[in-house]
Subunit: 254 residues, 2 copies
């Protein structure tokens, strides 16, 4: 591993990195994927470096795959973190120890504490359908509920805050739900998705009226039965209209 | 200048740069500020490098000031351009010539054709109130109407497209107009601002109803007189409500 790690650092950009905020939704819960650095108590977002011949988008997908095993996730750039002191809340000593514990190497000591700008990417996935697997410098992966996110390494708490803001901004401008709900779903399930991500409650009638106005839903001639309440009608997304709305945008004004 | 230029290149990041898309609005026209590189026909956005001890936000403001003379402009990051080939539509020869003509130096020939990621910032200003002044490697500044923007250097046409998209996204989520309209303005003037930026026509009644619903306007007991048409009422922004709406967001759904 030593050789390939050395090569990796030589073949990648020195001043730019990538960090990924992966939000997971399942059954009315919103979580975020964090990793714990090998041999340490330090948690961070999954991140990594960009090869010199690689676009930042390609790098983001490769990094996420290498570090977590996750593939086919639609990552979107949301913000680039460029404070001059973003790596310096850790002392140089602590940063060296962290890297030694996680990477077990010392040949880049002279390079640490550099100025690194990090490009933030985010995604929203169904966390029940993805299985993160730790790489060789990660001890553990965990989906954290947003309010429970601990003090993270570097400026990663700020990254989580900004990524969550970007996610919420996106849901206000584009439809959401296609890969997060079962094929057929009820209006209360769709409402719960919006309420969970936006951390807000909405009026049932107004929500239904607004979502119907997007013209992306097909009301089916079926009801969800078996629940304690009045059986609600099932809906599904009209895929072509949904995709058009992803491009044209919608306006979630509630 | 040779010495300071050399120092500048040594003291700045090598793999990250900044480019600024400055949109100007005045009297129903939307334009963008472009500069022509000294001794060449090549136009680009104003851009530059980041000092190692400087945040990217500070760098963006400094670069804009140094290159154009513009100060106190609220720049916002909108996208980071990271294609591996973003500088390679010019041949190495052409790029060298361009830099020689503009910079008159050859000591960084060995460094050109590098991989550089560029952070895009944008702003919207009242272009009648700002006076751009060319720096020492710019021959000319010009406010261009958006449809007339020529083929630009590097990937700057893509930057203009994405910046315009970001501007339009912003106007759909935050109020606009505070520094772009006179203190007292008519509803048709406000509508014209939105129509110009979004390049769309809106129904007069619906526009008024929506903007009034934001609760950021004060209708004055005065009318604009002297025009050929029925004298329209004057409005002004309630600054504290406007600023609150900038933070909380609004939803321009038309």
């Amino acid at each position: 591993m030593e050789r390939s790690l050395k090569e990796h650092f030589e073949q990648t950009l020195q001043e730019v990195s990538i960090d990924c905020a992966i939000f997971g939704f399942h059954a009315g819960e919103l979580k975020i994927l964090l990793l714990r650095w090998k041999g340490t108590d330090g948690w961070s977002l999954p991140g990594g470096r960009i090869y010199k011949e690689e676009s930042t988008d390609d790098a983001a997908n490769r990094i996420l795959k290498e570090r977590t095993g996750l593939t086919d996730i639609f990552l979107q750039q949301y913000y680039t973190f460029g404070n001059a002191n973003r790596l310096t809340h850790l002392s140089k000593q602590d940063l060296m120890e962290l890297l030694e514990l996680a990477l077990g190497k010392d040949y880049f000591h002279d390079k640490i504490n550099r100025r690194v700008v990090s490009i933030g990417y985010f995604a929203l996935v169904e966390f029940d359908q993805v299985q993160a697997t730790a790489d060789w410098y990660t001890d553990e992966f965990r989906w954290w509920e947003i309010p429970d996110v601990p003090k993270l390494l570097f400026d990663h708490n700020e990254m989580v805050v900004r990524a969550l803001h970007a996610l919420r901004q996106q849901i206000r401008n584009q439809p959401v739900g296609y890969n997060l709900l079962p094929e057929k779903f009820t209006m209360p399930e769709l409402q719960r998705l919006y309420e969970t991500i936006l951390d807000k409650q909405f009026d049932r009638r107004n929500f239904q009226k607004l979502l119907v106005s997007y013209d992306i839903l097909e009301k089916l001639d079926e009801k969800r039965t078996g629940g304690a309440n009045k059986s609600p009608f099932l809906y599904r997304f009209n895929k072509s209209k949904y995709e058009k709305a992803m491009i044209d945008g919608v306006s979630f004004a509630m």
